[in-house]
């Protein structure tokens, strides 16, 4: 069975070493303290609207939480690899460092750009295109339309990089690929593990 896979035993990154918002959160954002739970959490008799959740609707006035690299990472790192029952994040195919979000370049433009560079587990991985397609589809579905999505293979990591990049960069080819029943099935199985 192993022989069918291009890379039967890839290195797996431990979940606690994967980047997460919590891990990189600056100390300033205060987590709810241990003792906060000691005060009542239900509306008291005189202040019917004092339920603890009520206050958070005010938090809308806080500054907007922009879509950043970590958020993009969270969207795509849970995609499953088509041949291992593992996530692209834990296989190191997707890393936080290889994601960049670029805000609109001019004041008149609303278009931001997300660039994702993929690192295949081996340079000969034949499923690179499918993985790239999965990532692209996921991002197109999950990011607002003002984002331009650019998925590419990281330079020097795959023998077929140019070919794959050409396919992924071509709108029409992506659209055509998503008409293919078999491909859709593969991509959907990959995306099942996404939250």
């Amino acid at each position: 069975m192993d022989a069918e896979k291009d890379n039967a035993n890839p290195t797996i990154i431990n979940p606690s070493d994967l980047p997460s918002r919590r891990r990189s959160a600056p100390t300033a954002t205060k987590q709810p303290g241990l003792f906060d739970a000691l005060v009542p959490a239900y509306p008291s008799l005189a202040e019917p609207s004092s339920s603890p959740e009520a206050s958070d609707s005010d938090s809308d006035y806080e500054p907007r939480e922009e879509i950043d690299e970590q958020e993009v990472y969270d969207l795509i790192s849970t995609i499953s690899d088509p041949e291992h029952p593992l996530s692209l994040g834990s296989l190191g195919v997707i890393t936080l460092d290889d994601i960049s979000v670029v805000a609109p370049t001019s004041a008149r433009s609303r278009i931001s750009t997300v660039t994702v560079l993929l690192t295949p587990t081996t340079s000969a991985c034949s499923l690179t295109t499918v993985i790239g397609l999965g990532v692209k589809v996921r991002l197109l579905n999950c990011l607002p339309p003002r984002f331009r999505v650019d998925v590419r293979i990281k330079e020097g990591t795959s023998q077929t990089a140019d070919e794959v990049n050409k396919q992924l960069g071509d709108k029409e080819r992506v659209a055509a690929a998503m008409e293919n029943r078999n491909l859709i099935n593969v991509v959907n199985t990959m995306l099942v593990t996404c939250e």
């Binding site: 241990l34 008291s44 019917p48 609207s49 339309p145 939250e195």
Partner: protein
Amino acid sequence: MSDIQIYLLEVDKNKPEAKLVAARSASRLESKELKLIDLITSLEEYINNKDDAALRGKSVAYLADVLETLPPKVLSGQERRLLSDFILGRLEGDSEGIGASARILTALEDRGRWDPETAQRVAKTFLDYASPLKDHKLQTDRFAVIQLFDRLIGKYRTPLQELHSGDPEFLAKFIYFFDGEKDPRNLMVVFSILQVPMTEWDISGNAQDLFDAVFNYFPITFKPPPDDPYGITSQDLKDRLRDCIAANSQFAPFAFPALLDKLDSTSMNTKRDVLHTIQTCVSSYELKTINIYAITLWDALKFEILNVQEEDLAEGALKALSMIAGRFAQQEGFLNAYTKPIMKECNQHLEDAPTKQSSASGRIMYALASAATPVADKITKGILPTLFTLYRSSESLTKRRGLLEVFNEIVRAYLDRFRLQPKLNLEELTTFGQDALGVMLRVLTNAPKAEVSLRLTALSGIAQLVALRGLLTEDQRFQAVDVVTDIVLHEHIQGHGDIRSEAIKTIAEMAHTAPDAIRNQAIPAFMVELPDSPADDSSYLPVLEAFAHLSSEQQVFDTVVLRLKNKYSVASAQAASKDYQQALLLAILYSFTHGSPMPDEEGVIRGTYFTDYVGPFLLTLLEQSQTGWDHRFTEIVGRLCNAILRPQGVHFQSQVYNKTLDKIAVARKDSDRMIRRAPFSLYYYAALRPDVIDAEDIVALLQSYAGIARGTSNNETPPVVLQHISLLVNKFIAGKAMQSTLESVGLEVGSLLSSPETSTNSIGVAFSVTKALLVQGKSPALTSKYLKLLLQLLSTPDGKTVAKHFATLLAPDEILTKENHCQVSGLYKQKTFSQLVPSLTAAVRTADPATKPNYLVALSGVLRWLPYSMLETSLVSLTPPLLQTLDLSSDQDAKASTLTIFESVLMHDPNTIAEHTASLVTRLLNCTTAPVNGARVRAKALQCLALVPKMLKREAVVPYRRQVVKKLMVCLDDGKREVRAEGVRCRSAWLGLDEVEEED
């Protein structure tokens, strides 16, 4: 006509009638009206009819029916013998009516035990003249025969076994007889019949035949029909078959190869079945047999673990391996031969750790080692030297982590065994354990902080080593505690994952096995970090929180709270910031409410804590003018008092109460002081048992708080005063005296609300009194009167305020609880529901647009706190008003709670809401827009909307797909990250609709 003639006429058209005919013959036999010999003679022409086989069969059936209904003792021994000779004799020439013949024999046996020879003759006759059974087409016929054999094997075991030992061919015939049975009901019995020779007879000559006779049915794929009257499940069959396969060690040469062959099956269920069967075989075959196949099994089973297909298959394989190890535990030779190749392979996998294979090796090691201590010791000797050599020779931190993970698995196995037998001999592990501790301590202190997984692995390893009492020296325990304490105290950078919270957990665990080290080492270190009077605001908080966690271990609880109290005294003497003083008090409170204080002999928290920890505060609170004591402060002391005093007995509480009564009473006239003291008073009175209290005290107290509540007209009544009123009314006033007492203290709701200056205050008071009554449930008439009055207010100018108050009625209340000795009716939620909800829904239908929102808000306030099961039956009438609630622009709470209800409806009863799909989808979409809706409402609405395509029928939701998917684009750009995440989930759910369509 004779009975037999009537029977033969009826039997095909009317079974019950035929049975009656047979019963009539039976009673005639009983009353001697009919002689047995005449009965038999009357059969003659039918039972011997050469041309009509069916007729012969039916006449035997007649005889069976007669004999089955015949009471015992009617037939003499001789008659029974004659009958059985007759039946067996005719079977030799004619197997027609075989089922009925078996029934006759069974009926005869019921009426008198056979001698061994008869039993043997019965068995032989069937095997010689009616074999194989599968030739008889009727399942019921075969079933009767099988049951006869079940009887034989059950009651005449020795005679049957003698047949076997006397005749080498017998067992072969026996096996052939049952060959090819297909009916599940028959098979259940056949399996259990065959299990007897399998287990008890010498089967050396027929082992393979016997094995094949049952293994032919493996794997069982039978699916019971939906309305199977016999209730046989495929699991029943599987269980019996498995027991057969495992019944005799001589099956091993056939069973293991065949099972392992089936392990290559592509069906997960077959593999599951194989693994279970292997486990059963391993637990029942003889040791020397298992020894022969142990390696073969390992070679096959390992693939399930190294290359996990399904997690439960891996677990099944691990369990089988572990069971083999467990059986070999006392057989040094077998164990060596078994573990050697396993350890060799695992050692190889360790070389390229961390990989799937190396972590699988860890699991294998754990599975084996946890089987028995000798196995664990063997693994320790065989694996750990290599593991540590690899560790030392590698510079790669990820590799080191992979190796430590495997080490931890082995120690975990010891820990599991240690929990079962605390006297476990840890000799074998000691050196390695101590070495490993050194290694892991170095990792924690020296490894780069960003190596989170490595450090976490080391941390959990240390926790396990410390938990193995007796493994480490005292010095080493102290070292371990030191290093972990250091992480807790000095690693504040959250950028490094969760290590701090894990360290806190670890330190609390270590307190269990190393309380001395915690007391002498960790606690002083914590105290150094806690300032007497902190300069900046909150840097002490993480240390304090971690310190309070230690109170979860009873052995160090007293030390922890004592140190906190001392720290508080110092802080207050040095006039430290109010926040700091409060935080220290909160830490004490946390320890008492969430930690493990010492109990007294009766298991109640020790009363001395009250004297030590509440007494001093109580004095300051009651005697001083409480300058500097704000509301929060008083409340914390009150809660602390509540936590310790509440469970104490009447005697203890009376002492406390009588001592303080005077001091508390003094202040009654001084309303400022009353208000200031209220937060304490509330928790204090909540802790007291009703029989401790002086009734006059309560009336006086109620009077003064009622006065305060009604009197503070310009500024709002502090909520705590209302809670206090609610508590006193609920807990201390009895049913009959209720109305008069309420009137005398000025809390009667009717007059409260009818007074011309109905203020916000009196509305609050009215709700608090009503809540006390409805929770109590002892004055139903008064309660419903008050509820009606409150409902009426909804259409007045005060309606808006009143509507919001409705949410308080059923809101969970931490004061009115059974633990606080309050009167809590079991059914108050149901009662309130039936009194309020129908009137509210009716009012929504008729109300004018101006007051309608009031009713909607009140309704959702009531529904918010009810369990879903209570709403379920009224969903049809509730859905329209709930949908309207989603249109309210103002009230976020009402919307959020309504969305939660819709979420439950979609989850449990999607059909009831199907007819409203259009309006539900539109409204949910509207609820996702900012800024009209808060983030909480937007997120909840998206969660509900995501359920719609999953729970409702496809054709009902497909028409909305395009619209929803388009509108959700906006949510993908929501200002809140959390809402965007919900938006992504929701949109995926709706996009998913597409796929099903094309597959159809």
